[in-house]
């Protein structure tokens, strides 16, 4: 019964077919064909830019979620949609911020379009099913930033965490409580 209801709700969200083209490249330039490893229950895309201050301030929070949910079958990807974030730039950024995670250079912004992401930092949660990936959440990580320049001392509502838990429990996904705040993803026709 519960399962049915969930499927029904998920039906409202987009169903993603397996991409014909790779999703992007890793830091060694190798194409990434598959973002849901075998056995993964859910996939989280974290959209980041190397020089966006708010995006960077969320790094510890994303790492916390990764540590907590990876053992439960959630796979995290750090996605860099800005063409300026080349492999060299991101590698340097990884060193500075001590990031150890799977990363995608989304140079063609295919993941960005697939998730409908507009901002860094922003996150998308996909359920991985036999039929493919279903996006169940897309939006802010938490409510620390309400607008540029309107910042709480600490978050009071952890939207992304709630969404991941809901997905794992096959509960209906929560909606983000407010807009994602940070740096716009400038669409691909960049200079």
């Amino acid at each position: 019964m519960a399962w049915r209801a969930t499927v029904f709700l998920l039906g409202c969200l987009s169903m993603v077919a397996r991409a014909a083209e790779p999703f992007g490249t890793d830091l060694n330039g190798r194409p990434i064909e598959q973002i849901a490893p075998a056995g993964a229950k859910a996939v989280v895309l974290f959209f980041a830019t190397s020089d966006c201050p708010i995006s960077n301030r969320y790094i510890p929070e994303i790492e916390r979620l990764d540590r907590e949910f990876a053992p439960q079958g959630v796979h995290f990807w750090w996605v860099y949609p800005d063409p300026g974030d080349t492999a060299a730039v991101v590698r340097r950024h990884d060193e500075d911020f001590q990031i150890h995670a799977d990363q995608v250079l989304d140079t063609e912004q295919r993941l960005t379009r697939m998730a409908h992401a507009t901002t860094t930092p922003e996150a998308a949660v996909f359920l991985s099913t036999a039929a493919g990936l279903h996006e169940v959440y897309r939006g802010r990580i938490d409510d620390r930033y309400l607008a540029l320049g309107q910042e709480r001392p600490a978050a009071t509502r952890h939207d992304l965490e709630l969404a991941i838990r809901a997905a794992l429990d096959h509960r209906p996904a929560v909606k983000p409580g407010g807009p994602a705040v940070g740096c716009s993803i400038v669409p691909r026709n960049a200079p």
Binding site: N56, R57, Q150, P153
Partner: protein, 752 residues
Amino acid sequence: MRFLRCTALALVGCVFLSWLHPRRTMRAAQVPADPGATSHSAPPAVPAVTWSRQIAPLVYQNCATCHHPGGGGPFSLLTYQEAFRHGPQMAQVTQSRYMPPWLPAPGYGDFLGARRLSDEQIALIRRWVASGMPEGDASIAPPPPHYDATWQLGKPDLILTIEHPYALAAGGTDVFRNFVLPYPLTATHYIRAMQILPSAPQVVHHANVLIDRTASFRRRHPADWEDGIPGMELELDAGNTFDPDSHFLFWKPDTPVLEEPAGMPWRLDPGNDLILNMHLKPSGKPETIGAQIGLYFTPEPASKHPMLLELEDDRGLDIPAGDRSFQVQDELELPVDVDLFGIYPHAHYLGKELEGWAILPDGRKQWLIRIPDWDIDRQSVYRYRTPVFLPRGTVVHMHYVYDNSEDNVHNPNTPPIRVRAGNRSVDEMAHLWLQVLPVNTAKGSPDPRLLLEEAWMEHRAKRNPGDLIALYNLASALAGLGRYAEAAADYRQVLAANPRDARTLNSLGAALENAGDSSAAEKEFTQAIALGPDNCDAQFNLAELELKRSQFAQAAEQFRDLLRNCPADAGAQSGLGVALLGEGDSASAEAEFEHALDLDPANFTALYHLGEMAIESGSPERAVEFLQKASAQRPDDVDTRERLAMAYAQSGRQADALTQLRAAVQLSPGDANLHALLSQVLSAAGQLQQAIEEQNQALHFEPNDADGWNNLGVLEARLGHTAAARADFERALQLAPDHAQARANLARLPRQ
């Protein structure tokens, strides 16, 4: 020559700070003519907004000071590619006036470095972004400004470095931390400029530097001061002299160097600490926070003495959970004319609307500042483009509104809780600091800063009768103004609440002694000493009292005891010398004076007595050395100038001797002895006519001085004025019939 040690305890809040004279390192961006813009003929469409023509100059002028590589902003905006990357945010943040950071409302104070963009500038950015952020003709773009992250005024005279850098976590709430940087030099220096170089400027939101005159903060944290102490505000013990805080030493990312106005350097003495209070914002990566403070010296001491005043209402802060409009206020009437140089409003996260204004004596209201939407992250010291003149009788007002509802996004408590004043970021504050320079001070009137201190502390003590620090400071100001009886009454009030406070007992003793009641003073000093072995000031004052009463043995004993408790006390060392001198043991005394100079080469008492001893032992050149230094310490001390003149005269330097004596006569024109001395030196220099004039002056003030008449007679005789000389000698003999010299001189005069 005796100086009582009175203590002035001034509390300093979250202070700061100094003149910010932003040094513009960028070349002026000019809008070059765009040849392409006019070559199109009709229709005169709205010209395209391009990076090269309008946006680059605007960004270079208003954003690049922070947004450059290594700057305080999170990314660079120096190139077209960089601006393109952040274009949509640029439109957003300028529209909302989040950038450039600037809190004061326009029209409520005319501030230096105001960063507010005009509506036209904001519209330009919006149009540029809306039209796809075109670059335009790159060849007409101005060259990007150049910044370098090193010392802006060249190598500083002194660089202080945080010994133990602080490890800032990648995430979490903001951190407020205080680092102690001891001043390592053994001489006083005057600071004309200061630069702070944080190792990671992007996480340092702002920084305050405080001067801890007594190293009180370090002593309060003996075990961990080297690692830095958390806290937003701190209280420092201002120590033994009235030396109010005078400068805002406030740093923010785009003002690398704080240069003081001419005549207004600040001072560092041996034993002072600088405390660097930093507001750190985690960036997402672990950071090691170090910092260097570069100081630039000037040999000139301050000729203008500004002072920081504070309005505050921390006691009024008791904000119920959920209250969206909680108000506090304070006001202070100025007892003297001042120029207001700068203003620093301060609250924590619940502050919403911060206002300061003045009601002038004629009833007019003058706005000083208005911040309609407070944000602690963007706090600053604001300096007026031209100082604001506030005449005596002006009442300065502070009025702050707080929002403790959950609609206040900055609220650190969810759900909101009752909040009171405190030093943590979940507590609140209500402070308005003013930097004022007293002006129009009449000659001979008391130090106007003492009058300001009196008004300020009296107001605080009235408002909060439990504020013993205010009461103590009020008493100290009164003592400084010479109103000893009032001072003593206030000290007694402090003691009524706190009978075992050695510092107040000592200050009361000093006030009583200055009021002429030395036996009452002795009682207070003795009581202070009885409270513990570390009350060296009271011991010092008691010993000095004994010196004054010529109780030399007792004084020597007291000084020796003091030196066991406070071994490096040069004042006690030289005091012991004076006591030994009184006992007739000049060899031991000399050794003590020399020891005092080892501890403090500027110790006046030791310099003076060593000089005097050198004169007596026939070493005038050596005396000159000591006495010159002594006189430099106390240029207004007539006695020292007189001794120095004597040493010069004995070294054959008549011209120098004359200069000193003339200066001394200027300081003390009614002193017969000085005129007589001047007369003698003039006569030795062969200037007999002037010598006679000076001797006449001396006799004018002391007409019954037989020696003086005799000396005048000698001078007259040397000029051949026999009749006058005869009258003088006879006058001397009238006053002292057995004056042998006058009699002999009279006999030697040629008979007529």
